[in-house]
């Protein structure tokens, strides 16, 4: 699978002292329209994500973290590095994960029975899960992300993080393995939804690729 190959090359790259690079989108910029339009995708991927990559490379070149440190290690140890590493390694990791979490509505896969059962067991139903996830995203004041994670007790949990932090970071209030994350920075939705973050959060489900999320769940619980 293309997306799996991309993930492998990004997340498991050997520790060579090589610049981080912007991954290509796993679909065309207009593939997620009308939930996320092409202009938003082009700016979000080509400008915002690119800036995190560039600023991460600059921070490493400036000695903020040892050259050759993997993205995973930069994220996990975010609190031990400078804010520039925390913010830009987080920005690079989060956006890469975000692109891979979505697919054109017609191709977005189904939830596995295992994940569906776990969601129902924890949240009551898929609808209640969605409502709780949307509320957590709407309640994040300022910029940040809302996540579905597998926590330390192998339980599903919804959490949110400020700015470009994520649940893999040592600085995260609630830590765990992310299965799904939605970007609630205003740049993620402003051109289409303006101030209406809740509407964006509600429509976003149409393009979540549950096949991918279900695979992540299997890996997270060790199946």
């Amino acid at each position: 699978m293309l997306r799996t190959a991309l993930a492998a090359s990004l997340f498991a790259f050997p520790a060579l002292a090589q610049d981080f690079t912007l991954p290509e989108l796993p679909y065309a910029a207009d593939a997620l329209d009308p939930v996320i339009n092409a202009q938003t995708m082009e700016l979000h991927h080509g400008k915002h994500h690119q800036t995190y990559v560039d600023n991460l490379n600059k921070a490493i070149a400036a000695g903020d973290a040892p050259a050759g440190t993997s993205l995973e290690d930069l994220v996990a140890g975010a609190g031990t590095f400078t804010p520039a590493i925390r913010n830009n390694a987080g920005g690079h990791w989060n956006h890469t994960f975000f692109w891979e979490s979505m697919a054109p509505a017609a191709e977005a896969g189904e939830m596995s029975p295992e994940l569906s059962e776990a969601i129902t067991a924890v949240f009551g139903s898929e609808d209640e899960f969605r409502a709780a996830f949307e509320k957590a995203g709407a309640d994040r004041f300022g910029s940040g992300w809302v996540w579905l994670i597998v926590n330390d007790e192998d339980q599903l949990e919804i959490t949110s993080t400020p700015n470009q932090d994520n649940p893999l970071m040592d600085v995260a209030e609630t830590q765990g393995t992310p299965l799904l994350g939605n970007d609630v920075w205003e740049h993620a939705y402003y051109l289409t939804y303006n101030n209406r973050r809740a509407e964006y959060l509600g429509k976003w489900w149409d393009i979540v690729d549950w096949t991918e999320i279900s695979e992540r769940y299997d890996q997270a619980i060790g199946q």
Partner: protein, 199 residues
Amino acid sequence: MAFTLPDLPYSHDALADLGMSRETLEFHHDIHHKAYVDNGNKLIAGTEWENKSLEEIVKGTYQPGAVAQNGIFNNASQHWNHNLFWEVMGPGEKKIPGALESALTESFGSVDKFKEEFAAAGAGQFGSGWAWLVKDASGALKVTKTENGVNPLCFDQTALLGVDVWEHSYYIDFRNKRPAYLTNFLDKLVNWEAVAAKL
């Protein structure tokens, strides 16, 4: 006392030729600022803050060192911040009054140095927030930056100038280019008479 949304001190298209469009002001003032007012009023109703002044609420609900501020603080402070923001912009004269120019030169070396420092603070505020020109208790002028809704009242400073760097402030007119928005703000939008009046 209940918060009310102030009218803009100029028309919605008064700043359009200066880099802040009617569309931005319609969303930013009529929708975003109004939401802070409405949410703030809902949250203070029936609480100890209901009959307090806006300044008292901001100072009294700020939690130093908290990972995230509470809802009353966030909405009250953003109401205060936006009140100031509308006031320090304008379509008129862009000359810096002599007393303010002297104070900026004394504190920063020159007006240009002040502008550089202020723009750098705004660009360097990662995520949502504000950049400020403040006067501290000793009377010294300083440039600061704050996250989300946090403002100079929290630190017993007098705010002379503030710029909103939440993306909603500039996304319609400048997209991702926050530094261009900040330069434009300083060069074209600031009403320096209003800033000088706070000295």
